[in-house]
């Protein structure tokens, strides 16, 4: 299969710097997700890897071979688009076998390959149907089958689930991951949906405004976001971020009695980062807070939401900040009820409001 390497790859469209120089090495068999809001440069990056877009600077290596200036057809990469891009007038079978026929494969070989791939995707019973008679999910399965049948060195997928209903999206997401585990094809997958990225990616490349913000596993970007953008973007809801006033190891939330002492291992890096400044951003995930009548922090209930298996309580800690606390679903508090909570010290993070970067705790803390 394939390794993909981006060395200082960038793209400019006239005045617009769509992708600022980025480095990324994708291992053989790895599933890497490019994640970010629209306009962040993720699709442009994918298109540069495919060759559909030229680079403005930098190099792209496929299996250590420089393919920067090779035509897309010479790169041995399959592309799966958001929209199915199937030929409407021919059957699913002919759609799937199209790339093989174009390569001049023998009839027996084509039949064998189509049979294999359609068993994998569980679409054997649909092969004689035309795309127009298939559901959205089945059309996307046929499109995937067509990409798979070529046995390309790498897959590039641009929001392949974006056009599907929520219910299909969930099951197709699992199928794509299962397929990847079976086939181990190197895959680069673009999405704006952080849940999809977390569920699928061996690693996630979080992008914003043409710049890579963080590259890491789902656990890394979730628990240890590199900056405020990643902290907000990952998670649903995102990380709670509260601006506090910092003095001598204690964070006070302005206008309140809420005080929080830095856990072990944070004092030195926080003092060194903030220097004279007294502003700090305290970050914690909704599940890091536990309601507790004797809790040191408090706020007033703004809203509460049943989310199925659990509930989320939205709490005003001061006039500017609402924090989200994950709770047991039987708990239901009327608006304005005062609640107290504590934070799990291991799940608390701190950010420098100036640079927006995460402050790193001392190693071993």
């Amino acid at each position: 299969m394939a390794t993909i390497e981006l060395q200082k790859v960038e793209k400019k469209f006239a005045e617009l710097h769509a992708v600022k120089p980025m480095d990324l090495t994708i291992q053989d068999g790895e599933f890497v997700v490019l994640l970010g809001p629209s306009g962040c440069g993720k699709t442009t990056t994918l298109r540069m890897i495919s060759g559909l877009e030229t680079v403005t600077g930098g190099k792209i290596l496929l299996n250590q071979r420089d393919v920067t200036w090779l035509h897309p057809s010479q790169r041995d990469i399959a592309f799966v688009f958001q929209f199915y891009a199937l030929y409407p007038h021919i059957s699913a079978r002919d759609n799937i076998s199209f790339p093989l026929r174009a390569q001049g494969e023998s009839k027996e070989e084509i039949e064998k390959q189509v049979k294999e791939v359609s068993a994998l995707l569980r679409i054997e019973h649909l092969l004689n149907q035309r795309p127009g008679n298939l559901s959205g999910g089945d059309q996307q399965r046929v499109a995937l089958a067509r990409a798979l049948v070529r046995r390309p060195a790498a897959f590039l997928m641009d929001e392949p689930l974006g056009a599907l209903d929520a219910e299909f999206r969930e099951s197709m997401r699992a199928e794509i991951k299962r397929l990847h585990i079976d086939q181990h094809a190197t895959t680069v997958y673009v999405t704006h949906d952080q849940i999809e990225a977390m569920a699928l990616g061996d690693r996630i490349v979080v992008m914003s405004e043409a710049v890579v913000q963080q590259i890491g596993t789902a656990a890394e970007v979730y628990y240890n976001p590199a900056n405020l953008f990643v902290a907000r973007f990952i998670g649903s809801p995102g990380m709670n971020l509260v601006t506090g006033h910092y003095v001598d190891g204690v964070v006070t939330i302005p206008g309140t009695q809420n005080r929080f002492s830095l856990p072990v291992g944070w004092r030195k890096p926080v003092d060194e980062t903030l220097k004279e400044s007294k502003e700090i951003i305290l970050g914690f995930r909704p599940e890091a807070a536990q309601l507790n009548n004797a809790g040191k922090l408090s706020g007033e209930v703004y809203a509460s939401e049943l989310q199925g298996a659990f509930a989320v309580l939205h709490v005003n800690v001061n006039s500017d900040d609402i924090v989200h606390i994950r709770t047991d679903r039987v708990i239901n508090y009327p608006i304005d009820t005062v609640v107290h909570f504590d934070l799990n010290p291991e799940m608390v993070r701190f950010f420098d409001p100036q640079s927006e970067a995460a402050i790193q705790p001392e190693v071993g803390a």
Binding site: K177, R178, Q194, G235, R285
Partner: protein, 353 residues
């Protein structure tokens, strides 16, 4: 505000019955959500209430009085749509003032100013009042649209998927704000959506609509915990409920095509083949669990992990808190919360305890 009642509403379009004997009531100050897939009849229901469509049968009542013979303007409802219908060349202030300046109302400007200041505070948009709406973000525009509906203090709010054009983060925060606003203002609200999470999180009560018929009416807990059909059970909750063909013999439930069997909760009257429903969060991996399977897939979502467990030819989804350390291919033991099982007949009707 007012209460609203629909009595046996039937609405036909050529070749299709869009609403079939639909009855429900929305109490004064209630946040009531109509939930259903595309084509369920949700928007038609709103249009009948607003007087934009005329039903063939049945009655719409506001505060106990039929309004069927009132024109839309006479019904005094406010509509918020999926697409924000703001005047792009006007300022936010003028957009908000527009309904109050209508010839029907002729509100004095001083009063308009006071009312808009109030609404702007509630919606957190005082800093945007002078801006032209064309220069607002999607979330800001939808806030102004909601503001324009609120400003006139109508009898009832009708909201047609107002959040569905917004990106996920914005939808999340507006959902919370909308709920807070509705509760603090005490406005009678009928809100339509196809998004189950919006319905569960915001509603006082939910009516599930499919193919023009009401399937179930209840609190979010009723809908989630006691769905009356497999359609409702699958409509709410992500990942979806596990529905497994099962068989009961004497006091044991056998999940077909798997090695799983469990003692039957004896209060169920079902015998023979049926569908067993298990919510993913009620399947809990545990080192000494009663059941065994193999990990087929894990999907770490941050706050929780979806784990697909294979047993025989069946795959179960399990939802566990946090980032799971379970690995694909591992053998796993797990428990099933017996008190939270759901039983349905093969044609999808809940078997009551």
């Amino acid at each position: 505000m007012s209460n609203l009642e629909l009595k046996q509403i039937t609405k036909r379009f050529p070749g299709v019955t869009a609403l079939n004997d639909v009855s429900f009531d929305v109490q004064d100050s209630e946040f009531f959500i109509l939930l259903g897939p595309t084509g369920a009849g949700k928007t038609t229901t709103l249009r009948v209430i607003a007087g934009l469509e005329r039903q063939e049968e049945g009655t719409v009542l506001f505060d106990g009085e039929p309004v069927d013979n009132l024109a839309p303007a006479g019904r005094d409802v406010a509509f918020v749509f999926q697409q924000y219908s703001l005047y792009p060349t006007m300022s936010v202030y003028d957009n908000l003032a527009f309904p109050l300046r209508s010839p029907l109302r002729r509100t004095p400007e001083g009063e308009i100013r006071k009312r808009i200041q109030e609404i702007a505070e509630v919606l957190r948009i005082p800093h945007l009042l002078e801006r032209k709406t064309a220069h607002l973000s999607g979330g800001e525009m939808q806030r102004v649209s909601i503001g324009r509906a609120i400003v006139r203090e109508p009898r009832i709010f009708l909201m047609d998927e107002p959040l569905s054009n917004l990106d996920a983060k914005l939808r999340e925060s507006l959902r919370v704000e909308l709920q807070h606003l509705q509760k603090t203002q005490g406005s009678t609200t009928l809100f339509v959506t196809h998004d189950q999470i919006e319905a569960l999180t915001m509603a006082d009560r939910i009516a599930v609509l499919n193919l023009g018929r009401i399937i179930q009416i209840g609190t979010p807990e009723d809908i989630y915990d006691r769905p009356v059909t497999t359609f409702v059970a699958q409509l709410v909750g992500t990942p979806r409920i596990n529905l497994l063909k099962s068989n009961r013999e004497d006091s044991t439930l056998y999940i077909m095509n798997s090695d799983l069997h469990l003692p039957s909760p004896h209060e169920y009257t079902v015998l023979g083949e049926f569908l067993l429903g298990i919510r993913p969060e009620d399947i809990l991996p545990h080192p000494e669990g009663k059941f065994a399977g193999q990990i087929l897939l894990t999907e770490p979502l941050g706050v929780q992990t979806v784990v697909h467990i294979r047993s025989g030819e069946q795959t179960l989804s399990s939802l566990i808190p946090g980032m799971s350390t379970l690995k694909i291919g591992d053998n796993v033991r797990f428990n099933i919360l017996a008190e939270r099982l759901h039983c349905f007949t093969l044609d999808g009707k809940r078997v009551q305890r």
